[in-house]
């Protein structure tokens, strides 16, 4: 008898797949410590995409130049603005 003929005799029993069946199975599992261990997503708000826009009223080329300079110095645009503000105060 070939393998496939032997296997043809195998059958599956009907199983409960309703929401109620799954809920009952979850309850039984949870009572024995079989819990939902699906990895949780990182909490908190996702970071906004970088637009390189310093301020809506700053010309795009100026904003871009500031962004490039901040990146070259390895600081944030905010830190660069702070340094510029200090220079401004000293010059005044």
């Amino acid at each position: 008898m070939s393998g496939s003929n032997r296997l043809a005799g195998l059958t599956a029993r009907p199983k409960g797949t309703t929401v109620e069946d799954v809920r009952r199975v979850d309850e039984v599992g949870e009572a024995r410590g079989f819990l939902d261990r699906t990895p949780r997503k990182k909490p908190g708000r996702k970071p906004s995409p970088r637009t390189w826009q310093l301020h809506p009223k700053v010309f795009p080329e100026v904003g871009e130049a500031i962004a490039v300079e901040a990146e070259r110095l390895g600081i944030t645009q905010g830190q660069l603005v702070e340094q510029m503000w200090e220079s401004y105060l000293k010059a005044r």
Binding site: G3, R6, L10, R24, V25, R32, F34, T38
Partner: protein
């Protein structure tokens, strides 16, 4: 056709090895086998990436919310579904067990494996009660010695039999070829016929062991 679930909350007991051996041997017998890799370690996905045997289809990344509909959609005429689970106590495990025709609990012959594996056996029994249907289950001892049966193994077999737990004979012996399947992909028959595959073990003995194990599982599915 039947759904076979490999379950044990303990990792490293041989669930993936059992799944690979059964999938490749049932496929060799002519079955259309669907393997669900629900283990985050993706052992079966790695095995299949080197080339799954003809007749074996793999589905990866099956999670808790997908397990029941995925088993239901994979099940059909002429198909055998084999589910390889993660080695933790999770709802994914309990849901998969609820869809099984046969739950296989692999255990190494150690007290720790027996203790943690018994959690899966207890869960099966409780699910049987909750669902009002019997779920056939059996233990297979894995990574056993080819030379001698240890005292611990004998005692464990006696304890399991004494508790009315079905123990699959033969056990799965610790064979290098079983481990090498994950490096080479395919099945043991291909491994035996390819002289370029170096296993450092006796592939013919491993194949005979895998075939006898599959035959014992087949008897439980009838």
């Amino acid at each position: 056709m039947p759904v076979i679930v490999m379950a044990s909350p303990k990792g490293g007991v041989g669930k993936s090895t059992c799944a690979v051996l059964l999938a490749s041997e049932f496929a060799r017998m002519g079955a259309d086998v669907t393997v669900l890799d629900c283990d985050p370690n993706k052992s079966l996905t790695r095995w299949a990436s080197h080339g799954a045997p003809s007749g074996v289809t793999l589905k990866s990344d099956v999670g808790r919310s997908e397990i029941v509909p995925t088993i239901r959609s994979a099940d059909g005429d002429g198909k055998i579904v084999i589910v390889d689970l993660e080695g933790v106590a999770s709802q994914l495990v309990s849901r998969a067990i609820s869809q099984a025709d046969l739950v296989i609990v692999p255990m190494q012959p150690t007290a720790l494996d027996a203790e943690i594996g018994s959690e899966a056996l207890a869960l099966v029994r409780e699910e049987e009660e909750a669902l009002g249907r019997s779920i056939r289950h059996a233990v297979v001892l894995t990574k056993t010695s080819a030379a001698v049966k240890s005292r611990v193994q004998k005692e464990l077999e006696e304890q399991l039999s004494g508790a009315g737990i079905d123990v699959i004979e033969p056990s799965l012996v610790a064979r290098a070829a079983f481990s090498e399947l994950f490096a080479y992909g395919g099945d043991l028959t291909a491994m035996m016929n390819d002289p370029e595959m170096v296993t450092g073990g006796k592939v013919d003995k491993a194949l005979a062991n895998a075939q006898a194990f599959t035959e014992a599982v087949y008897e439980r599915l009838k």
